[in-house]
Structures are given as C-alpha cells and as structure tokens.
Subunit: 310 residues, 4 copies
C-alpha cells in the first residue's frame, strides 16, 4: 500500500507498450501531474507535443492479460489558473451545411480557473459569457491501458482499452475498471479538463494541467470487454465507437454481462430493470471514436439482489 510521488518527464501521444515510468503494486497510490492537451504544464511551459500527451505508463505488478485493472481517481485538481477552450462547435454535431456564426478572429479562448472557489470565467469582456462564473468539475479526459496485438492507439481516439473518452463523470472519486491486455497493464493518463459539456462538442473542455492522485488494484481472472466504472450511486459501462448507436450497443451489452455475471441477476430481471431504469450519457462526440455510457442506479440493483456479489 505504498504512496508514490511521480514527477513525469516523458509523455506519449499514443497509448501502447511504451517503457514503464514506474512499477506499482495493487493497492498502491500514485500522486503525479498531467500536462494539458497541448503539452503545457503547471508553469504554462510546453514540455510535450500537443495532442493529449499522456503521463505514464505505470506498470502494475502482477497484472496479466485477462485481468481487470481497477483505478480510483482520488484527487484531480487544476494546478494552474489558466485554461483554454476552442471557440467553435464542431461541424460534426451540427446539421450538414448549417452556417453557424463564429466570433471573428477568435482562435482559442482563455479562462481563469479558480480551483478554490470551484469556478471558471472566460477572459473576453466583449462576450456575454464573461459575466458567468461557471462551476467547474475537474475530470480526466483520456486514460487507458496498452491495447492488444501490439497496437499503439492515438490519444485522439478511444476503444476497448479506454483512451480519449472525455466523459464528465470521470472525475474525483470515481472507480474505473479496464481490461488488461499486456503484462503490467501499462496505465496512461492525461488531458485534464476543469469542466466540460457532454460530447466535448467544441473539441475541448477547459483544458488545463492537473495534480492527480490515483490508487490501483487488480481483479485477477475477471475479464471485461469494455471499460466499466462505479460511484456510490451508479454502475457505468462505456462503449467507444462510431456511430453513437454502436457505442450504445457495446455499453448495454457490457452492462448485461456485469449484471448477469457479477450480480447473478436472472434474465427477466435484467431485461426489465434495464428496460425501465437504464440511463445513457454522452462522452465524446468529436473524436474518431465517440463514447456513450450506460448507467444504472446501484440502489435498484441492491434492492433486487439480496446479497450482491455474494
């Protein structure tokens, strides 16, 4: 149960079998930092290439293909006061040919981020939105493990290994589960957002460097097909693909497997509970692979399964 502090000095814009930066044991915690999507660190100094440079990878001792890696994001905090966003909603989320009006000559926006008060403000007095102190909710946009088959997958996209999912609930306190494809799992993380709307429809959240503390664990011999996550209130499964319909297919299938395999829910209860209580939320609808999340209230599952996971 060691607590590691790790100061990164290399970064990767693919998730793959890169040289591990640190070996950790199941149960260990790591406090580290992430740079922003363009590679700028807590001092607003560029230390990595743009394109969601990742901190890591971290080698989890004992992790083997077929296991599940557990990561708890204990703490995610902006470690500087200046963030940025893109000023343009992506054409892909608008009607084809819709001539949306942009602000002339604005190519990115700066925000003052106040982690203490928990709000952010656009630094552009001519825009009405600069009147607004927008509540922040820090999150990690991109994280994952080395994918199978020797692939090195761009941090611009996502798949079964995780990646650039940009889901708002991947914030402080969440537990995420990732399938392990290679020995040591090789966990990468980065692309922090002070806050972000669903879909990341401008192509950015409020991009900012972060202090992050996370704890790892392993579920040996439990093989999952897609990332899962859990809070005190919800079970969540993640599908990364295009179009969104396919994300829903992956996420729903994974949720059924979870309920039937780990909770031993009978078929009629599985179909009926999801049918009348399932929720879906949108991660990224900007990258080559989009993200949709299937959610279910744990209180409902607990009311049904006398002895969950028993």
């Amino acid at each position: 149960m060691a607590r590691h502090t790790f100061v990164p000095n290399t970064y990767h814009t693919t998730i793959g079998q890169h040289k591990p930066v640190l070996h950790v044991m199941p149960g260990d915690s790591v406090s580290t930092t992430t740079v922003d999507a363009r590679g700028f660190d807590q001092n607003d100094k560029q230390v990595a290439d743009r394109g969601n440079p990742m901190t890591g990878p971290f080698f989890i001792d004992g992790a083997e293909p077929g296991d599940t890696l557990v990561v708890v994001f204990n703490r995610i905090r902006p470690n500087r006061t200046r963030g940025f966003t893109s000023p343009r909603i992506a054409p892909i989320v608008l009607d084809p040919g819709f001539a949306v009006t942009h602000a002339d000559g604005v190519d990115h926006c700066d925000w003052d981020v106040d982690a203490a008060s928990g709000s952010a403000r656009l630094v552009e007095p001519r825009a009405q939105i600069s009147r607004l102190a927008l509540p922040i909710a820090p999150m990690i946009g991109c994280f994952g493990v080395a994918p199978p088959g020797g692939q090195a997958i761009s941090t611009a996209t996502s798949s079964t290994h995780g990646g650039n999912m940009d889901y708002r609930r991947f914030g402080e306190g969440i537990t995420v589960y990732l399938p392990v494809f290679v020995p040591g799992a090789l966990f990468h993380l980065g692309d922090g957002h002070a806050v972000q709307g669903d879909g990341e429809i401008v192509g950015t959240g409020i991009e900012i460097s972060m202090d992050v503390t996370f704890t790892v664990d392993l579920i040996r011999g439990q093989t999952i097909s897609w990332p899962r996550a859990e809070t005190d209130e919800h079970l969540m499964t993640v599908g990364n693909a295009r179009p969104l319909d396919q994300c829903v297919q992956h996420a729903t299938t994974e949720m059924i497997k979870w309920l039937q395999n780990e909770y031993a829910l009978d078929p009629l209860s599985t179909h009926s509970l999801l049918g009348q209580a399932v929720e879906y939320e949108l991660g990224n609808m900007y990258d080559p692979a989009y993200t949709m999340v299937c959610k279910l209230q744990k209180s409902l599952v607990d009311a049904i399964c006398a002895d969950p996971r028993g």
Copy 2:
C-alpha cells in the same frame, strides 16, 4: 381560458390531418384520457387498434403554418392499476450477434402500478425484480402535430412534428413547443408510460392508460424547426432521426437557433456555453427514428443574458 373535458371515442395510429375532435382556443385547457400502446383503456378494455393509438386531434383556433404551438402537460396520471412491459431488450441496442438470454416463454410482463404511492412492481414472483417497488414518473411517449405536405406519419416513429419520441422528461409540468404545419396545428397525444428507462430499450415503458390535462397556447410567427421543451431548470431541443449522431445534429442546431434568436446570445458565448455546459439525453432508440435531446441549464443562460427574451 376555457377548461374542456373531452372523452375520446376515436383513435388514430398515424399523426396527420384527421378530423378534429375538439376546437380549443389558445389558453384553454383540456382534460382527457389516453389508451395504452395496445389500445386498452382505463377499464382494461380494448377500444382502439394497437400501435400507439392517439387521442385527438385537437384543433387550436388561430394556429397557422409558421407558428409555434405551446403545450403544457399539467397532469399525467395512470387511470388504472395494471401496466405491461415487453420482457426483451431489443437486438438493435446490443452487439450484433450477442446471444442475450431471455426468460423462457415470457411474452409480456404485467406490473401493478400504484399511482398514489408512486411505484410499480413486476407481477412475477420468480423474477428477482419483483422484490423492487420501482418509483414511477408518468410521461407521454407519443404526441405531435399534423406534419407538412399531407403526410400521415405512423405513431411508431417521429420527426419534426413530434411523434413517438419516448423521452422520460415529457412528464407532468413540462412545456413543449411544436412547429405548426397546418391550420389548427392538430395536436395528437397518447402512449402513456408509468415509467421508462432511457432509450425505451425493451420497446416499451410500463404501458398504461392515463388521465391527462394539458393547456395550449400559440407563439404566432415564431417558426421552429424541431420540437423544443422547457422546465423551470432547463431548455431542451429534440432531434428525431437515425443514427443517434443525426439526432444530436438536429437538436444542437435547434438549441443554437434558440439561444441566438430568442436570447440574442453572441456567437462566442453560444459556442462557449454549449461547449462547456451542454447536456444530452436519450429518448427512444427503438423506433425507425431515434430521439436525442439537447439540454441546457436555464440558470446559466439567465446569468449571461441580463434581460432574457427582452
């Protein structure tokens, strides 16, 4: 501001230019009933064909093409105690070829719906879910106005005129806005659900007949492209299409028009606010046209627009 009570005796499984059952004035309220998706009424007696039979249409005096019809759902209450669901998650929301397990020989499920206590219970003691008193949230699955061009659109699907959207927030208290395509608008409604998960992934909510009271109004000369809705907390715009990506495109485009035309929000604020604060929710992912809803917190808009709609 008349209060009408209307007892239906004809129903339609298309939304189109059917003979109006009642003329109402802007500001009037109507108390009526809807039958369930299979045409059964409050006495569990079949009085209409299956396939989401609609009550109506109601002719709103003065409504002309290019106007916006406003409908407030004042009251939506199950008027019997027995509802039903389908016991099977639709293949369309699962991985192609995924062999999901079903309950043998179950072809529909009955639920005891207790509107007073606000819960429903599956009537099948062998299923674990029968232990659960599922909180209900009554809603109208299908409503809309006569579409343009002389079309009669099946109540199995949806489009710009509304239709079978199956969105959980279309419950008591919501205000909906619909584009008017024909004189009198011709408002239809039906397909009540005691409760429903996102996506209506089993193809039903808890299907039940309802007592419904609604109030109509007109915004003359305001032309919208897709249904809109509003609660005390949120603005919402609705896209109905396939795949879900296209729903998002329609809904987001409509939200931009709303913010720019009705709230006079400047371009940079429009992009930045939606980019960092937009939410999306899933209506139906079962019908020929799916539904996604774009949502925005009104408190954020109000904080930005000193004099909204001024």
Copy 3:
C-alpha cells in the same frame, strides 16, 4: 392483357391510399406520362406541386395484403428536350465543414436532352462540362405502393413500400417486386431522370418528364419485406433507411430470404455464394432514407440450383 393509355390530371406528393385513377388487371400494360420533380410536364408547363409529384395510383384488381406486386418498366423515355439539375453537391456526402467551392450565383442548371442520340449536354458554355455529351440512361426515381397502417409517406423519402429510391438500375427493362399492403396495391410512379449518378449526390438526376409504359402482375400469397428487382443478369434487393449500414442490413437479409425461400439454396451455399459474389450499389444518399441495393449474378445462382424455382 389489356393495354391502357392513361393521361394523368392529378398528382400526389405522398404515396398513400389516394383515390385510384385507373383499375388494371394482372397482365395489363399502362402507357402514361410522369411530370418532373418540380411538377412540369412534357410542354414544360407546371401542372403539379413540386416535390416528386406522382402519377397514379393505379389499382391492381385482385391484389391483397401479403401478395407481391410485379411491375415491368417496358419503356421510359424523356418526352421533352429540356432537363434540369441542381448545381451543388449536398453537404451530407462531404466531410463535415468541408468548404466546397460552388459556381457563383448558379441556382439550377439546364440540360439539352437528346433521347434519340441518347445524350445530354449542360447549357452553360462557361463550364468545362458543356463540352461533354453525357450518355443518358432514363430511369424512374420514385415509385411504390400504398404503405401499411394508413400512412401517407412523402415522395421525398422511401421505405418498405418503395418511394424515392433513386437507383440507377430502375430503368427500361427492369422487373420490380413490391410488397402489397392494401387492397389493389395502389401503384404510384414519377420523378424521372434522364441520367443520374450513384447517390443522387446533388439532390437531382437530370430531372425531366417521361413517357412510361409498364406492365403489372401479381404473385399471390408471396410476402416480401423489401422491394426486389430482377434483370436478365441480376437479382436485386433494396434496403431503404439511414445510415447506409442499415440499408445493407435490410437488403442482405431480403436477399437471403429470396435465395432460401424461392431458390431453396442450402445454408452453406447461401452464405458462401453471397460472401464471395455479392455486389452492393448505392441508390439515394440524399433523402431522409438512403437506399442500398444488394445484387447477385443470376448465372451463378443458376449454375448452383439445377432447377431454380422448380
């Protein structure tokens, strides 16, 4: 086996249960005319509303729901010399946000169509394409039967009943099969194109009025799910939906049913023949529903099935 000549004077921009204009018997032929997509006839006079106005519907005596209507397009010939196209490729077939260059101020294009020589020429000397005598291949863009459930479906789109499929092979000599949903089938046709590229990506072929002769027949008791077609060389099945993936799913499923039900092909042969010999072609990728066609060479099927349809 009567030969009818029918001069239309009403047109419909939905396909539905409109009043029949002529009763015909299986085996009968009809020679009639169609107006262009904007409602202009052989004299370039507007006689109908724009939006693919249909000639018909024709009532086929004896056709009952569950039968298959057979239509042979014996003759499709432009009956005037002036056609038109749209000058702009639709944004929906281009990369989102791609700033395609258009010809300034051109809002439609005229073409000289010479049916005798079989070619068409753009009437715009400043465009390089005016040097080209483009070979024509006249076709019917939109045809179909009244859909089920009392629907009236816009001629801007397509579904199981046919509709605006805009498939280049729907030309002279083809035999098409349509599911019958209502007594008399109610066959509509129109929207002739002198020629058209795959996808109808500018939203038009060379739109022109036509002389059309067609022959009808019935296959009683044979129920099909989607339109089928046949030439001397090919079997074809049609899927109409969005996205294109779903069109492929419908068309492929229908082809399997054809091979297994009408040709009694064994499962391994069905999978293996389609796997190594199937072809797909694109109809419309412009309308609310797109069209893809699954094709198979009849010579291959004949080589396998000693006694096809025996």
Copy 4:
C-alpha cells in the same frame, strides 16, 4: 529501376514504424510473397500469427511526409491451390435479431483454387455451391503505409494510411496512391484473396497466399488525405470509417480535391459531373472501419479537360 526479389521471414499484424526489410528506389519493382490471413504460406505452413500478417515494411528512399507514394500491383497470383473462407455472414450486415440459418458444425470452408483456369470450387460435396466453378479475381485485402503520430494500427482495420480495405478492385494492374506520413513511407502488404464479394460480408475472401510483384514511385510534394487509385478506366478515392455514410463523405471530398487540384476542373463542372456520373463501391463492411470507394470514368474527365493534368 531495379527489380528486387524479396523473401520475407518476419511479418507484422500492425501497420507502423517497424524495421524496414528492404530499401527500394522510386521506379523499382519488388517480387515477393504474402501469407494468408492466418499466417500460412505457399506450403500451407504457418509462419506468422493470424490476423492479416503483413510482408514488409519496404522503405522507399526519398519518401518524405507530405509526398504521395505510388504503388502499381503488377502481378497478384495465388501460389498454392488451397484457400479458405468463413461459412457465416456476419451479423453486422443482417437485420438486428434476424435468425439466419447456418450450416451445422462447419467452422471454415476449404476451396480448391485453380489459378491457371481462373476459378475456385468449394470442397464440400453436400453444399449445392460445390457445383460452381467460381471465377476468381485475385486481390490484396490489406496494404498501407506507416500512419502518423507514432501509431501502430491493427491490420484488422483501416484509416487514412490504407490498411484492411478489402476492396475487390485492388487487383492486378491497379495503381494506388497513399499519403506518406513518415520518412521512407514504410509500405506493408498482405491478406490476399483469390476472390471476394463486396463488403467481405463473411469476414473473408477466399484467403490464400500470393506471389506479388509491385512497382513503387513517388509524387513529391503532392499531399493527399485518403488513398486514391487509378485504372485505365477509372479514378477512385477511398474512405475508411464507420458508418458507411462517413466513408462516402471522405471518398467524395477526396475526389473533389483530385478533380479541382490535379485536373483544374471548374466548380460547376465538378459538381455536375460527379452529380450525374459518380459511382460508389463497397470495400469492407466487417472491420472496425468500413470502406467505400468513389469512382469516376476517366473518359468523361478526359472529354471535359482538354489537357488533363496539363
């Protein structure tokens, strides 16, 4: 203009920056071999892992990012007589939930491939298709160059760099153009098919090892966004993505760029020619990324552009 003979002894199931196996100059030809999709060579001996193992990569001297690599497939011939296919059409190309019948207990099919006579026959006398001598048309299913950003992309999929496109026209005589992302381009090839239907809907063509001769060249300073190809008759552009709609968008956009940049076609001619003469064909509809190809007859372009590429 050297002619190299290269005997491979390493293979890769990703396309990436692997160690080059041979350096070649623009103008050079290479005669080599490819193993089948499961890694079996001309002697039916497994020499590589399954999953489309690639021969190469070949380093093209002088190729720099921003150039275009030109590859002519001079010769593609099966070098053994036994091929195999999968016996099952993929669920992804069928209606969701459609219960297609399979041949019991058949898990792959053997074919006798006779390159001399140009035909193949299924080795399973109980299947009707074994009566058929299916004409073959040898092709390369998967080829491409190292992708940008340090990615290593699985040979199960495709993108801007090429990859597993499974397009039937990638056979003998075709010229392909690929964007160069890294010095030397790093050309990989493999996954030969004796023949294949559109879509590769069973997940295989007739998979077989091949003798391949190809010639490379460079177009320095010409940057393309997606693979292009050319025969005596056609220009072709390739889009690799999901859903098929997006493939069409990429391929059509690339064709417009080709016509406008390399042929200097004016805007109205570009839109009008594609609108009335474009063709689309389906590559793979089985992989994570599908493939659609935009085609245009060169005779039409030549008739318009007095001095093409002048």
